[in-house]
Symmetry: C2
Subunit: 196 residues, 2 copies
DNA sequence: CACGTAACGCAAGTCAACTTGCATTAGAGG
DNA sequence: CCTCTAATGCAAGTTGACTTGCGTTACGTG
């Protein structure tokens, strides 16, 4: 039978598939929150979800892919766009929101998994995530410029990286605390610069 | 026999132990560079090093610990302290050196492994690493202050985090390229700040 | 409501990380 | 040179990630 006469291989959207997926992702989150990211066991997830191990392997393939999908499913990636009236207030609100998110168990896990390079299939998701975040930063900076609070010619992307970079460094590498002094210090340094 | 009468359990420093350690670490680096970090196999390392698997497991315990030890053994953690005569030149040289390092296979691997949290035993090494790096940054900033190039009251640690943070974000999260425009843009933004 | 098939259940097996108990070897100290 | 023992060699086993082949179920479609 020629391939062209067949239906376009309609996927099963609702019903059992959706139930299995929801149960597995929920069980995955539960296990990760209980035993940590390294304590994730496919066998335990399968048992809790009332599903056979094979079903998990056929749909997700690897443990990493399952964990990432579960975390992404629980993550609202849309960062609220602050509008406090001042650039300093907006940057501080942005940085604070991100700090709250990465201190969440799910948020911290997402950040650490994003560092792993073995998940080529999620490149699109990564690009979409950062594009959305950079758009929030650009909006904040555009508003500041229209208020005359921004030095002309500032690259939006560089500025946003300068805002979030120190936070990422602390969380992922040095593991120093994200206290208010750090958040405010980062924003004030970014606003004023190093030169007199 | 009371413990106090025994010799202080002299470790075998030279000889076979040292040879085995060197051979295993060299083989580990070779395998990682060939097959990538995920393609590291203890069996292959043991075979190449002419050593039994058990010896590796008894000394390093886990695959992660072995990989980290091999990378640290190959890493000169001392970052040269630049002295170009200007703050901008020094910051650019610092950032450039770090960029070159993290683009090295071993450097990139070290950075990614530092993110993993399951190696509690290496906390001391991490603290020492970052303390040394921050000292380099502080020296550069101190010299700039004595030349009158630095705004008074700048926190050394925050300034250094602001310099390296964007680079870490690009390498680990967004995976954008580390071209010269990025390095110079980051330094110039840090120097001038966002405000007019 | 009947049919086709995507998705699931089940059993069996592969592979590599990691463990354990015991024999053997080779440095370090006397 | 002799002894003690830390470190290695060796064999056997455990565990969990991941695969494969096949029969079964239940959702989607006519």
């Amino acid at each position: 039978m020629p391939e062209s006469t067949r239906r376009p291989a309609a996927r099963r959207t609702g019903g059992r598939s959706a139930r299995v997926r929801a149960a597995v992702l929920q069980a995955t989150i539960d296990v990760v929150l209980e035993h940590g990211a390294d304590g994730l066991s496919i066998a335990e997830v399968a048992q809790r979800a009332g599903v056979h191990e094979t079903s998990i392997y056929r749909r997700w393939g690897t443990k990493s892919a399952l964990a990432l999908d579960a975390v992404l499913d629980r993550t609202r990636t849309d960062l609220p766009t602050p509008d406090t009236g001042t650039l300093r207030g907006d940057l501080l609100a942005l940085l604070h929101d991100v700090a709250v998110f990465v201190r969440t168990p799910v948020g911290g896990l997402l950040l650490r998994m994003a560092v792993q390079e073995d998940l080529a299939e999620y490149e699109a998701a990564r690009d979409q995530f950062w594009t959305a975040r950079y758009a929030v930063g650009a909006t904040v900076l555009d508003r500041a410029e229209s208020r005359g609070e921004l030095r002309p010619g500032v690259d939006r992307r560089l500025a946003f990286e300068a805002l979030l970079g120190p936070l990422h460094t602390r969380v992922l590498l040095t593991r120093e605390p994200l206290d208010d002094a750090f958040l405010e210090g980062t924003v004030d340094l970014l606003l004023a610069g190093l030169t007199p």
